[in-house]
Each structure stands twice: as C-alpha cells, then as structure tokens.
C-alpha cells in the first residue's frame, strides 16, 4: 500500500507534465461553477500533497484518504504510533499553510 502511494505520486507528477492541456480540456465537460470550483480545489489539494515530504504525505494519505486508524496506519508504515502522529501533525500543518497561501 505504501508503494502504491509512492507510485501514485510519481505517476501524477508525470501526468501533470505531459497531460496538462488535456486536463484543461476535460474540465470543459464539467457542469457548472460549483463543479469547476471543486475540481480546482481538488487540484490545489493534490499539488499541496505533492509538495509534502514522502513520510508526511504517506501518513496523511493513509489516515485522511484511506481512512485507516492511527494504529493501522502505523502498522502499514512500520513505525511507532508516536512517529506516525508527529508526521501527521507536521504534514497537516504544512498543508494548512500551503493552502492558505494559495487561497
């Protein structure tokens, strides 16, 4: 699962470089301003996630996206729970700062 997230992040970075124009085209099909806004917000969250160090991104992804408990996420990453929570705290504070700057 950990590797899946790393691969995902790499693939997305490549996609952004190669397929940016196509992405722009896709949003034409989305209906209405609300959908567009959600699309843009999702994009900015993904970019902020991509800027996190791997450790922190994985911790945030497992807990917030995959919905694992702290215990489960720590087991997946093979780190103590205390390490997981400090990565979560640093990662989320970095995301908050990043998204606040973008808004």
């Amino acid at each position: 699962m950990k590797n899946a997230w790393i691969d995902e992040a790499r693939a997305r970075t490549r996609q952004r470089k190669v397929f940016a124009p196509e992405d722009d085209g896709l949003s034409v099909g989305l209906d209405g301003a609300a959908a567009m806004e959600a699309h843009l917000e999702a994009a900015s969250v993904e970019q902020a996630m991509a800027r996190l160090p791997d450790d922190q991104r994985l911790a945030v992804a497992l807990v917030l996206v995959e919905g694992l408990s702290y215990r489960e996420a720590a087991a997946v990453l093979e780190v103590p729970e205390g390490t997981l929570t400090s990565r979560l705290v640093r990662g989320r504070n970095a995301l908050l700062a990043d998204l606040r700057g973008a808004a």
Partner: protein
C-alpha cells in the same frame, strides 16, 4: 491544561477516548482561538478526503467491479438509444461518392453516442471502490450514508439492518438504487469495507414505505444471518452506535 496540535488532530480524526474528547471540548469552550484551529483542521480533513474521493471516481471505469458494472450496463443502453434517436444524415447532394459521407456520418453519430455514454457513466461514481490495500471501500454518498443515516426504506441509499458481528464490528446492509448494488459494509477503522455485494433488485415504484426487512434482498439477508451476533440494532441502538461513530 494545554491542547497541542497532536491532540487537536487526534480529536478531529476520532482517535481520542471519551476523557480525551471531553478535555479537548472543554479547552475549545474556553479558548476561541483553539476553536478556529479545530475548524481549520476539520476543513482540511474534508478537503483532502474529497480531493482523492474525486480521483477514485475518475478512474472507476478502469477498475470496474460487480457493483459498478450494473450501472455501466444501464448506461451502455443510452449509447444505442442516443444513436438511434439522432436524425438520419441528409442525403448527400452529390451522387457519386455516396458511400463515404453516409458511412462517415454514421460513424460520427455513433461516436457522439459513445462519448455521451461515457460521460453518463462518469456521472455515476462507484459506491464501492478498491482501497490501496485491495479492500472494497465504500465511497462518496454511500460512505456518508453509512456514517450518518439511520436505517430507512427510502432515499438514494437505503440502509436496511445494522448489526454487530462476532468480532464486535458494526455492519450495515445497504442498497444503492443508482447502481443497483446491494450488500453489507462493515466498519474497519474509519472505513466501511464491503463484505459482500450483489446486484440489487430493480427499484419498485409506488412503495415509499416498507419495513427494513423487506427492503433487504434474500442473498444479503442470508449473509447477515451468517455474520450476525445477537439481534439487529433497534433505532435506539443505531443512534447510540452512530454517536460512537460506529466504533466500540
């Protein structure tokens, strides 16, 4: 009593016990700044989950599964209908190259149908999709309904029975009309993992009210019988379980 970010975030993630929650709530009541901080973290949690829920929806056609296939099949019908309903192309004025324009416009018509069908299938996100560890995880509206709704016999997502398993997990039977999917989802950590899914019977018209039991298909009920420990939760039980976020 100082509440640090670690504790605040654990509170947002539902990781604190009752004493920890009470401590955070008391601190927030006393300190508005802390309340703002809490809201920020709550909002972030929603944003991150939302951003990737959309991603999961995007790639659904690539990782179709039984539940999603029912929906896709229904949408495939639209391709044919749309193509059939389009007016036949006007007869070409020039008589010589008859064959090519006719075939060309037919191909174009079909293309429109295919694209429309694809877009329609995109508008119905899968109710369950594989998580990164391969477990089938409830997503979007279904996940929200499993979290928040009490059992009810109407609405786009119907929840039939809530019960506890021998290994002390909460499980709920669900039926999603849009995708004609039904099954059982069990709480694992913060996720609802589908233990079984099946094709739901076609939604019947004109029966807005029904008992929880009749809304549940026989295949699902049989699976419930195999998993359940004790009796299904009554309404009070559901309210209590929901308040504990379906964890014990």
């Amino acid at each position: 009593m100082k509440i640090d970010d670690r504790k605040l975030i654990a509170y947002v993630d539902g990781e604190l016990d009752a004493a920890g929650r009470a401590e955070v709530e008391a601190a927030i009541a006393a300190d508005p700044v802390l309340g703002v901080r809490l809201d920020e973290h709550r909002l972030l949690r929603g944003k991150v989950a939302g951003a990737y829920a959309r991603v999961a929806d995007e790639s659904v056609p690539a990782r179709l599964m039984a539940a999603a296939q029912a929906g896709a099949k229904a949408n495939a019908d639209n391709v044919v209908k749309l193509a059939d309903r389009r007016k036949p192309p006007p007869p070409p004025k020039v008589s010589r190259p008859v064959a090519w324009p006719a075939w060309g416009s037919m191909a174009a018509t079909l293309m429109v149908g295919v694209v429309a069908g694809y877009l329609l299938s995109q508008q119905t996100p899968a109710a369950v999709a594989p998580g990164f560890d391969g477990a089938l995880v409830a997503r979007g509206g279904l996940a929200k309904a499993l979290d928040k709704n009490l059992s009810a016999g109407s609405g786009p997502v119907r929840l039939g029975l809530s019960f506890k398993t021998a290994d002390a997990r909460y499980c709920r039977t669900f039926q999603v009309d849009a995708q004609r999917a039904a099954g059982i989802a069990c709480r694992e950590g913060a996720r609802w993992v589908a233990r079984m899914t099946t094709e739901a019977p076609r939604p019947t018209q004109g029966f807005d009210y029904r008992t929880a039991a009749t809304a549940t298909s026989p295949a699902v009920l049989a699976a419930v019988d195999a998993m359940i420990e004790g009796e299904p939760l009554d309404r009070q039980g559901e309210i209590a379980a929901k308040a504990r976020r379906w964890r014990d």
